[in-house]
Amino acid sequence: MDFDLTDDQRLLGESVARLLADEYAFDQRKKLLGVAPGWSEALWARYAELGLLGLPIPEEYGGFGGGAVDVMLLQQAFGRHLVLEPFLATVVLGATAIREAGDKALQEEFLPAIAAGECKLAFAHYERQSRYDITDVLTTATPRNGGWVLEGGKSVVLHGDCADKLVVSARTGGSREEAEGISLFLVEGEAEGLLRRGYALRDGTRAAELSLSGAAARLIGPKDQALPIVERVVQAGIAAMAGEVIGAMEAMQAMTLDYLKTRQQFGRPIGDNQALQHRAAEMLVAMEQGRSMAMLAAMSLSEADPAERARSISMAKVGVGQAGRFVSQNAVQLHGGIGMTDEYAVGHYFRRVMVIEHMFGDTAWHLDRLADQVQ
């Protein structure tokens, strides 16, 4: 085992931390919220310049050829600052779909553009009725004029409102909840027959509801057999979000510790109360357990055995989800009233962790997966 970071990874972490310290203070972030597009296009360009958008993209396609650990570190830094840009949607979910589904030509078409910050993607798989069930796809694809058209809807599509192109799953065969018959398509953001209704999630990040009525689509990857690719994309998303939760927990833990030392009640810092010292220690325990699980998620993405990979990812989602809930609830509690306000950063971390927990399968859903496999 080796938990050491390479020099490159350390450098990456430091340079991103510097950038975000300058550009992503809590007040700067607040200015981005609520004003279209809900994130910073200028920073998106900076990320591209710094090579962040090409981090996991192979060098032959203009990227840095980084691995899951690099993405985890970057996401951790993003989590500490609650970064709003569509990195997860584009560079993690979108690019993974292109890499897994696409031939060389498709990769050449997309990956360099993603790395250069010239193409934003979104991954539109889950539907309103599907909740977390990955095979519950009702959207259909029908051949037309040598291409395809899509009918149906997609729900809570992360950054679906701003994507230039969307990776959309649809049925080319089979029926609801069948593993076979799911295919992946590319749909232009401005396609006729695509209605996108964008909104903010509870944490301020953007998402959209999609209605597809005859939208033109281009098949990518194997027809009817895209479920394993969807799984890969979701797993990459879970691993990346796990990193983000670690960053958010670190920030909450730091703020809480600071508050315990400075807030005075009954003539002394509240942190002098052993009850609160123990709570802070429990938060630390949870955070470290969560961190281990985020590492497991990152490392297991390269696991070749699909069952083993799925198992590790589910374990990580559960571990990180539980740690995140515990740490964020206690961070608010130990702040008292101030923790309940929108003016104070703790509540923003709380909501980011809450939203992540309810994406791509929540704790109960993944535990259920694991329970099925107990021997």
């Binding site: 909740r131 859903w365 259920d368």
Partner: protein, 401 residues
């Protein structure tokens, strides 16, 4: 020992239930069922309907317009009201101010304020907490200096719930900064929110709503007849207020109603290709909550009947058990509801969504309040004495540690 309700108690529950069923406006009930907090006017409307029946001031003696119920009746009433679900009776008026005036107020104060409080003709808020005085309430600094027949009040309150709706505020102020103990220099004042020098500033909470406020007092003139109890004895009034009404503290009816709602939605959403309600893990989680609610229901009955028997009006320190467990259940059931909604509970329903009303609904009608309710209920273990402070009380008053 008999854990069953008596015939009379059952008949009483039926009477309350029937009244609420027949009189609670449908639109208010439906909004509450979907988890929306009551609007100001909903609270007023419902409290006036109850008051016309003589039930709004549910804990007051008959003499002052209350029904004169015993603790079990009060508990049944509150539970039925919450689980209807109906707007809660404004606690500032009924469980806080009312009993304080009945115990400590002058005749003139009672006549002037009690009927209007019961009928919610005047909306009260609670001005206790300050930036530097939360758990350590007695360290409050807002100053009141007597000048002739007025007090001149200067200072700041914070976390003042619904101050922006309020006509009046009952406040703790410092009248003697030189007192040997900080508890000894505090007085309980009634302040008209329309007095010049009172300024209310909103605080937006993590659910995005405006419930909390800061209230600033700058040379606010308060007539001396608005002092409740004796000058510098306000701490006993505050302790009476905080310890007085324990019947409703667990808000068990609310938790029960939320579990019911979660089960309803769980019939609609899916898990592994079948309705969530059929999922074993979900059922186990609901069962656990139901076990805890049952235990709390009985504990609550025990505390309440002991209180009735003791008749000394002193709060039972065991009521801290009700506060701790009651708020844990409120939080646990709000988590359940949100988790049932899952991804559909995550979008923020802001103006941009409301503006799209002509289009087909973006999300199911049950979803918009799931996350905000969960977020706001994180405060349940903070207000009314944090759960850590409740544990300190148990340590001192019951365990002798």
């Amino acid at each position: 020992m008999d854990l069953r309700y008596t015939e009379e108690e059952l008949a009483f529950r039926e009477e309350v239930r029937a009244f609420i069923r027949d009189n609670l406006p449908r639109e208010i009930r439906e909004r509450m069922r979907l988890g929306y907090p009551p609007r100001k006017q909903d609270t007023i409307t419902w409290q006036r309907i109850l008051n016309a029946r003589g039930w709004a001031a549910y804990s007051w003696p008959k003499e002052w317009g209350g029904p004169g119920w015993n603790s079990v009746q009060k508990m049944i009433f509150l539970e039925e009201n919450l689980s209807a679900p109906a707007p809660e009776i404004l606690s500032f008026n009924v469980t806080m101010l009312g009993p304080v005036l009945i115990q400590f107020g002058t005749e003139a104060q009672k006549r002037r304020f009690l009927p209007a409080a019961a009928n919610l003709d005047e909306w009260w808020c609670q001005g206790f907490s300050e930036p530097g005085a939360g758990s350590d309430l007695a360290s409050l600094k807002t100053r009141a200096v007597k000048e002739g027949d007025h007090y001149i009040v200067n200072g700041q309150k914070i976390w003042t719930s619904t101050a922006h709706n309020a006509d009046w505020c009952f406040c703790l102020v410092r009248t003697n900064p030189q007192a040997a103990k900080k508890q000894e220099g505090i007085s309980f004042l009634l302040i008209d929110m329309k007095t010049p020098g009172v300024e209310v500033r909103p605080i937006i909470s993590i659910d995005g709503s405006h419930h909390l406020n800061e209230v600033f007092f700058t040379d606010v003139k308060v007539p001396v007849e608005n002092l409740v109890g004796e000058e510098n004895r306000g701490w006993s009034v505050a302790k009476f207020l905080l310890g007085n009404e324990r019947t409703g503290i667990a808000r068990l009816g609310k938790s029960k109603e939320r579990v019911r709602f979660a089960k309803e939605v769980a019939r609609e959403v899916r898990m592994n290709g079948k309705p969530l309600i059929e999922d074993r893990g979900f059922r186990t989680r609901v069962a656990q909550l139901e076990v805890d609610m049952k235990a709390l229901e009985i504990t609550q009955m025990r505390v309440v009947s002991a209180y009735d028997k003791a008749k000394d009006g002193r709060p039972d320190p065991l009521s801290s058990v009700l506060k701790i467990k009651g708020t844990e259940l409120l939080q646990g059931t709000s988590e359940l509801v949100m988790d049932v909604g899952g991804p559909q509970a995550m979008p923020a329903w802001t103006q941009e969504l409301a503006a799209l009303t002509n289009e087909p609904a973006l999300l199911p009608e049950w979803s918009p309040q799931m996350a905000p309710a969960y977020l706001m209920l994180r405060a349940a273990s903070i207000y009314g004495g944090t759960n850590e402070i409740q544990k300190n009380i148990l340590n001192k008053a019951v365990l002798g540690l």
